[in-house]
């Protein structure tokens, strides 16, 4: 329908970069050996996985034996949260997290509550931030785990992870961070940050879907995620997703190499878009923090209109974006993140998330700014909520 096709949903997923795909391909065909075998093609696979592990470890400042490959970011989160809870339940049954975690952490915590654990969901301020002081105040003698996301997938807010890590370390409590959105956007060193566990997912940084990794600091007590063979040192049994693992490592390596350029470019696109939306469209609210924000994240609420309608109209213009509206997910409520930062329901329904990636250009933003104000105007004309506002201006 539309001549243009622009992808602005990189927080949902990214395309697999050509170099990544090329690195993966041989492991589907000629190098198909099972890494657990002794003969040559099996050893080739094993060697490739161990090199991938070393690459990931080097980039985040860990040791190779502290990296465990998983089937996704969700799996890494589930393993970290439930694994640490069960491994430490004799010490206590209290967990601290935030109210804006991804569902992979939130729902894992809710499950643990049904298993007799107690969870404190820290509230956030209007920008989506938790303070180290809040975390410290929530710690109890029976606290066994703190899980706080590095950067939020919806509003892009970046948490003070190093400070929280210092507190967790002082108190001797295991600290996990869901870095699925941060990886590839923020330089991460697990030692400097004092994190004990960290989740990542390849498809958020131009790698393949269905593969992730969990960093587990040496000495952290964690139950096994899958019981079976001896893969991942017996803690995550199952024949490895060799091409996926190779793809994850290659993608992370590229992201690490390009980090500075990537950030400079995305921040410029982001800040320009924020500025122009605020200038050209009335009744908008930027969600999230202006500075402590992922480089490619723009999230606005447009008053008086509903997010799904906005997305459909953008789609008809060839633009792919996302919204926190309940109508887009078919679930009960609009985004828990937008509600947690204090948005009333109707403003949460009217949200638009644009997340930039490496292939986006200034021309893409030109085009967005050409079509977006008109779409918003059109939907507002149609909205009964806008009537009084408009006539009071007239």
């Amino acid at each position: 329908m539309s001549a243009r096709s622009i992808y602005f949903d990189h927080a949902a997923t990214t395309h697999v970069k050509r170099e990544v795909l090329e690195a993966m391909l041989p492991y589907f065909s000629e190098n198909y050996g099972n890494p657990s075998t002794v003969y040559t093609i099996g050893r080739t696979s094993k060697k490739a996985i161990e090199e991938a592990r070393e690459t990931v470890a080097r980039i985040i400042g860990a040791e190779p034996r502290e990296i465990f490959f998983t089937g996704s970011g969700t799996e890494a989160d589930n393993w970290a949260v439930k694994g640490a809870a069960y491994a430490n339940m004799k010490k206590g049954k209290h967990i601290i997290t935030t109210s804006i975690e991804h569902h992979a952490v939130l729902h894992a915590c809710q499950y643990l509550e049904s298993e007799g654990f107690e969870v404190t969901y820290l509230p956030v301020d209007e920008y989506g931030l938790v303070t180290p002081g809040q975390v410290e105040a929530a710690i109890r003698p029976d606290t066994i785990l703190i899980s706080i996301m590095f950067a939020n997938n919806e509003i892009g807010t970046i948490q003070p992870i190093a400070e929280i890590g210092r507190i967790a370390r002082e108190k001797g409590i295991c600290f996990h961070t869901d870095a699925v959105q941060a990886m590839g956007n923020i330089k991460i060193n697990v030692s400097e940050l004092n994190v004990d566990m960290l989740s990542m997912s390849a498809h958020k940084f131009y790698g393949p879907k269905g593969v992730g990794a969990l960093y587990v600091r040496k000495g952290v007590k964690l139950t096994s995620f899958m019981h079976g063979g001896a893969q991942e040192r017996g803690r995550r049994a199952s024949t490895e997703n060799v091409p996926g693992i190779i793809g994850l490592a290659k993608a992370l390596e590229l992201a690490d190499m390009n980090m500075e350029q990537h950030n400079r470019k995305l921040v410029a696109l982001r800040d320009r878009t924020i500025e122009e939306i605020e200038k050209k469209i009335p009744f908008v609210r930027l969600n999230g923090h202006r500075e402590k924000r992922l480089p490619g994240n723009v999230n606005f609420s447009f008053e008086f209109i509903e997010g799904e309608s906005l997305l459909l109209m953008l789609d008809l213009k060839g633009i792919a974006a996302s919204s926190g509206s309940a109508c887009t997910s078919g679930s009960l409520d609009p985004s828990h993140v937008l509600l947690a930062i204090g948005l009333p329901h109707e403003k949460a329904h009217g949200s638009l998330r644009i997340t930039f990636g490496d292939e986006n250009t200034d021309e893409d933003v030109d085009y967005l700014m050409e079509v977006l104000p008109e779409i918003v105007r059109r939907l507002r004309e149609m909205s009964p909520l806008y009537e009084g506002i408009r006539s009071s201006k007239e």
Binding site: H103, H107, E306, S309, S325, C327, G330, L332, E381, P384
Partner: protein, 150 residues
Amino acid sequence: MMYSEKVMDHFMNPRNVGEIADADGVGQVGNAKCGDIMKMYLKIKNGVITDVKFKTFGCGAAVATSSMATELVKGKTIDEALKITNKAVAEALDGLPPVKMHCSNLAEEAIKAAITDYKRRKGLIEDDGDCNVCCLRCEDIHHHLNDDDE
């Protein structure tokens, strides 16, 4: 989730959008909390709906069902209009995705609310002071949705 061509047509080119300044009946249903509000304006002559306009805050399905509902009531008598069901509106749109069926309730309720308002103004029914702004039915409906996660 996929919308039918007809839904997309009514979403992109909604019929009868707007207000009627001297409407004989106005009904507003839904609430912003659930993410959907529909307001319907009716012009009624000798018991026949001669003109109709709507304003909607809601998803694609909410806009399309509003638009279709206005087409369905135009030219009908009040009694005929009151018989239009949400199912009929959805069918006229070649169906709605299951999670969006509740959006069509809004259309049926908006018609009823606008006609009730007309009758009240005419003194045909007593003004019982009941609020017709939000029936809270949308909340029940949302609660019955499955808990799909992204």
